[in-house]
């Protein structure tokens, strides 16, 4: 920030107006009265946020990813069934450097998984064997560190799965526990490798057979079942970008692009329930949060339970790498725009502002 220099010039000016307020009292008082009304000239336009909005549009085609498509773009990989009947699911992930547009006209020199930020949403089912073939086409050593249960050699840190540019590594472990998780690069310096864009969601759906006490809940979470199909499932990764590398974010968003869901709200069918896989990967700020307008939700911290860990709340707070599942419904609600955003006004004003457009 530029703080004002107190110079003689400024003070001269201040003294003079003051004195003349005395000398020309009538004029001055009318001038002051007039100026009272001069503040607060509000301007509204088509957005619910008025003029508090980025200007222009991000070129999704140029970026190679669309924040709206990301909401439901589950990466399932390829599966094979072994002799023992066990499913092995294989994903391919490539780290690459890529400049991405994070707000209209603002380009960020990102490090990405598969050319997108957040990286692909890897979605598996509890109990599967997972193989993640990781290739590094970037300019720095990188890893994939999964939040899940695995052995030390598969941890995705220096000495356990860190690969230099041009190299390849295969992470292999079982998909557990079920829940809403994430993966990210764990190379050093950590902050830089994280906020440059190397992170993504890692969802493990519960296997209903393993949860006889809550089969219905488990089935509704399992992608591909009819019970799951009636849900409107959405992935939301809360992130931020420090464009001038001063360890403070200039842009906040869900799924990278500032105001993406504000300029083009997410259309919701009010008769079908909503499930949000929410991940916080925001760097530099200790917490981020999610707040819904005009409604409340149940929350499953880490998504590792089939019973909500918090019921009937409208705001949830997450530290970095904390995540969870939000379940809510707009059934019988008045159609229209319902805001959701971080309840840190600072993040809202810097891009983390979104809307559901609830339709009857």
């Amino acid at each position: 920030m530029n703080f004002p220099r107190l110079s003689r010039r400024n003070l001269l000016g201040t003294g003079f107006l003051g004195s003349l307020l005395g000398l020309t009292a009538t004029h001055a008082s009318t001038a002051l009265a007039a100026s009272e009304t001069q503040s607060g000239a509000m301007h509204h336009d088509k957005h619910a946020m008025g003029a508090m909005m980025t200007v222009g549009e991000v070129d999704n085609a140029r970026n190679g990813f669309d924040p709206h498509a990301m909401l439901t773009d589950w990466e399932r990989g390829t599966t094979s069934v072994g002799a023992d009947g066990r499913v092995t699911r294989e994903f391919e992930v490539t780290a690459e450097d890529k400049e991405i547009e994070i707000a209209p006209g603002i380009f960020f020199p990102a490090w990405t998984y598969n050319g997108r930020v957040p990286g692909p949403t890897l979605r598996a089912t509890e109990g599967e064997r997972l193989r993640i073939i990781f290739r590094n086409h970037g300019s720095m050593p990188h890893t994939m560190h999964f939040h899940g249960i695995h052995g030390a050699s598969m941890d995705g840190v220096s000495g356990a799965g860190e690969i230099s540019p041009g190299e390849e590594f295969v992470y292999e472990f079982d998909a557990r526990p079920f829940g809403c998780h994430l993966y990210h690069c764990h190379s050093i310096p950590l902050k830089r490798h994280l906020h440059k864009g190397l992170y993504g969601a890692f969802i493990i759906d519960p296997d209903p057979e393993r949860h006889p006490e809550a089969v219905d809940s488990a089935r509704s979470r399992l992608l591909g079942t009819p019970e799951n199909a009636r849900w409107q499932e959405l992935l939301m990764v809360m992130n931020g970008f420090d464009t001038n590398f001063d360890e403070e974010n200039e842009v906040y968003a869900v799924n990278t692009v500032a105001h993406a869901y504000s300029k083009k709200p997410i259309v919701i069918d009010r008769d079908r329930p909503i499930r949000i896989y929410l991940v916080n990967i925001t760097e530099f700020d200790p917490i981020n949060s999610f707040h819904i307008h005009g409604n409340f939700f149940d929350y499953y911290d880490h998504g590792t339970t089939l019973e909500p860990t918090s019921r009937i709340i409208d705001t949830v707070m997450l530290c970095q790498a904390q995540r969870g599942i939000i379940e809510m419904s707009f059934k019988d609600f008045e159609p229209g725009l319902y805001m959701f955003h971080a309840h840190q006004a600072e993040f809202v004003e810097l891009g983390w502002m979104s809307h559901f457009e609830v339709r009857a």
């Binding site: 530029n2 003689r8 010039r9 000016g13 003294g15 107006l17 003349l20 003029a51 810097l350």
Partner: protein
């Protein structure tokens, strides 16, 4: 033909070297991975019912795009006129419709295509009177009190000075030198302050010195062209010119401060400044003690010295780019420098010539008192 080549030859060689350099481009080795240096500066602000209007200059090595604008840490819609990237040293207007709050501080950041923010603070938001509006009389009045009135008051000391003997006259001339010496330093400092705020590319710090010295030299040489050196009336005119330019600069600064919203109450400050500038009036009439100046001459001198403050205020309120402020101050510095030299020459001729009295004590006392007076009255102003 050969003669012509002697003239054209070096130019051709210069062009050849330039072309060769660009062709070889040895710098490309260093520029490979270096992003273009971006630099934006806000030169002027207007604040009105519609929000903020900024005059933004690009100082980068390449054209700079303003991608987004933050006001108080929030992305805000804005309009750029003309749109598109800003060429090096080019300017655009940024209009931000913003519900600003009267009397409070606002912080603006312009983000370039790389997301680099260039920040600017509005210390106290008050409406700037664009094109002065109906307030030109009000501002003019401030200008009169800053410049014209104190100068006239100071000139009223002429009869008193005139009654003094030659010894006292030396004292008065030295006093004038002291006063002007202070103004010289002050004006130069103000010029350098302006230069600090100006676009770096313009090298205004250097330009202030150069323009000040050049102005001083040119005015001095013009004075030399006159037979017999410079006449007392002429000297008074040049003193008035120097002080006038100084007051123009003060007016610009005060106007800028009013427009920029640096406003606090304290009516005693005006008295301090009036006292401060009264000494300027004494300085102007000091060379005229041996003359019988008529009212038109005295009025003319007062107008030249004092009215530029009014003009300065009017311009300053409309927010003049800082490099113009620096230039005005530099010219004023040069004018004061010339006057200092002229008075020094007069003192030497009158009091240090062959068989002269050499009243060293009185001269030193006068000069010191002049500096002390200016410094003391400036303390009241900055209190």
């Amino acid at each position: 033909m050969a003669r012509m080549f002697r003239v054209i030859g070096p130019f051709m060689l210069i062009a050849l070297v330039a072309v060769a350099f660009l062709k070889i481009d040895p710098l490309s080795r260093f520029q490979d991975s270096v992003p273009p240096a971006e630099a934006l500066m806000i030169e002027r602000i207007n604040i009105d019912d519609d929000g903020f209007r900024f005059l933004v200059r690009s100082e980068g090595t390449d054209a700079v795009s303003i991608a987004q604008v933050q006001v108080d840490g929030a992305y805000w819609q804005f309009e750029q006129i003309p749109p598109g990237p800003i060429a090096r040293l080019g300017t655009v207007w940024i209009h931000i419709p913003y519900p600003w709050i009267h009397g409070e501080a606002h912080h603006v950041a312009l983000l370039t295509g790389t997301g680099t923010p260039f920040e600017y603070s509005i210390d106290v938001a008050v409406p700037t009177s664009q094109g002065l509006g109906g307030d030109w009389l009000f501002y003019g009045l401030v200008g009169l009190f800053v410049g014209f009135v104190p100068v006239v008051l100071g000139m009223l000391f002429l009869p008193a000075i005139r009654q003094a003997g030659p010894e006292t006259m030396g004292f008065v001339l030295a006093l004038t030198m002291g006063l002007l010496g202070y103004l010289f330093v002050d004006t130069l400092a103000e010029g350098l302050d302006f230069a600090e705020e100006a676009a770096e590319t313009f090298s205004m710090r250097e330009m202030v010195w150069i323009v000040a010295l050049l102005t001083g030299a040119v005015l001095f040489l013009i004075g030399r062209r006159l037979d017999n050196g410079i006449s007392p009336a002429m000297l008074a005119w040049t003193i008035a010119l120097g002080i006038g330019l100084h007051n123009l600069g003060e007016g610009l600064a005060i106007g800028g401060a009013l427009a920029g919203g640096a406003v606090a109450l304290g009516s005693f400050l005006v008295i301090g400044f009036t006292l401060h500038n009264i000494t300027e009036g004494i300085g102007i009439v000091a060379p005229l003690t041996g003359e019988r100046p008529g009212m038109p001459l005295l009025f003319g001198l007062a107008a030249l010295a004092g009215l530029p403050a009014v003009l300065g205020l009017w311009l300053g309120v409309q927010a003049v780019s800082p490099h113009w402020g620096a230039m005005a101050m530099a010219v004023g510095t040069g004018a004061i420098l010339q006057v200092l030299i002229e008075i020094a020459l007069i003192i030497r001729k009158r009091y240090f010539g062959e068989g002269a009295a050499r009243p060293v004590g009185g001269i030193v006392a006068g000069g010191t008192l002049g500096l002390v007076l200016m410094y003391a009255t400036s303390l009241i102003v900055t209190a």
